[in-house]
Amino acid sequence: DDFIIVQSTTSTQNSGLFDDLLPKFQAKTGIEVRVVAVGTGQAIKNAANGDGDVLFVHAKPAEEKFVADGDGVVRYDVMYNDFVIVGPADDPAGVAGSSDVTAALTTIAQAQAPFASRGDDSGTHKAELRLWKAAGVDAPAASGDWYRETGSGMGATLNAGTAMGAYIMTDRATWIAFGNKGDYQIAVQGDERMFNQYGIILVNPETHPGVKAELGQAFVDWVVSPEGQDAIAAYKVDGQQLFFPNAGE
């Protein structure tokens, strides 16, 4: 069986990137890639159990811990996209057009405008918490009030948040591919602090003897190779590039 299992997150899957990338890889190597897309935490845990050959997520500190714990061989940067804050057209907090994320978050908090957070310890959630902290707002203290932790994936949080008229932080790729936008628009974007770095790690075959090291390594190598990087850059939705390759930078 020439296949490997990649533990990844919903954002890469929902954006359609894998549907574009994997056939190219398989055409070249004959290796089938099976993607299990779950929450970042769950993906890391699954990989740590040895239930995957490659881990492909966006939560750098957790990834580094994964390698340090001996579960992964080595971590490579692959690409980044950026987070954006989307909001309803009537923009209740008046933050539309801003490119200063901490200022925008402070305004939202002061206006007590509803904000939907994933609240699931995912990469996106962790990034969001970092930004609140930088803004000096203790948002989780308002949990259940204007700050609403949906405790679910990006898609579910977008579905819920748009229905609540809440601001939501999401990654651009998921947002562009998202089908239930309603009257929502991107309100805040362009702040450097909203970069979202993806990494790829081969699961350590010494700790987890079941890992198909050779095939997995082939995938990792291809993704960070110029060929893989070009494929990532070439993936567009509605004419927009979703991911920006930065391996080896």
Binding site: Q42, E149, S152
Partner: protein, 235 residues
């Protein structure tokens, strides 16, 4: 992985800790589930009994439909209710989305066909015994239902428990219409799903054990009542 005893111990620890969040979540779970089961029985018992006991055109089709609706996918029900209750939906002005009420509505839709389909079968069996006697006495259609439901009550308890089982374990629909919002609509199953997606598998399992314990307590209580009622009714 830790051995299973670890999970049971963790579950025990969770219960004994008397953690306020856990109590809140368990309370909401029970409230939503029991409300949905009561509503489902209020609709499903008479509905199932009518399909089981009355003769009318389309009865067979209705029976098949009820059986098929036992396979209503929770996510689909969740979505449908979401679209109804969302601000741009017909019931948007009621502002029910992301409230326990929305969760109760979704679960009621899921559980009612189960209660109705299983009730139909139970009532059909009893009707084949009572039918001629009722016809001879000239029992009217409504009283026929109530009498059959009453005399079948022992078996219908199991039906209600099947409905309870489905409701208490349900996650897909309540996640969509409730939103799993902390302190507002977070119940046991959505918490378990959340902890799972966080990779806290042990905690998720321990919560699952607590949930099962809850189901066990409810079932034991109901069966104890059944034991008493059966003694009076059966023979």
């Amino acid at each position: 992985m830790q051995p299973d005893t670890g999970i049971i111990a963790a579950a025990m620890g969770l219960i004994l800790s008397g953690n306020a969040d856990l109590i809140e979540i368990v309370g909401l779970s029970l409230r939503v589930t029991l409300s949905a089961v009561i509503l489902s029985c209020a609709i499903g018992l008479p509905l199932g009994a009518a399909v089981g006991a009355w003769r009318f055109p389309g009865r067979g089709v209705l029976a098949v439909l009820l059986n098929a609706l036992m396979g209503l996918p929770p996510v689909v029900v969740g979505l449908a209710v979401y679209l109804m209750l969302s601000a741009s939906g017909p019931f948007g002005p009621l502002r029910l989305l992301y409230t326990p009420t929305a969760m109760i509505i979704a679960q009621t839709i899921l559980v009612t066909p189960i209660v109705a389909a299983l009730t139909r079968q139970a009532i059909e069996d009893l009707q084949s015994e009572y039918g001629e006697q009722f016809a001879s006495l000239g029992v009217g259609p409504v009283r026929r239902l109530s009498a059959l439901l009453w005399d079948a009550r022992v078996g219908l308890l199991t039906v209600a428990l099947a409905g309870f089982g489905r409701a208490v374990a349900e996650v897909g629909a309540v996640m969509i219409v409730g939103g799993n919002i902390n302190h507002v609509t977070r119940v046991m199953t959505t918490t378990i799903a959340l902890e799972t997606s966080k990779g806290n598998l042990q905690l998720a399992l321990a919560l699952g054990v607590v949930l099962l314990g809850l189901a066990l307590v409810v079932n034991a209580a109901v069966m104890a009542v059944r034991g008493v009622s059966a003694r009076a009714a059966h023979a």
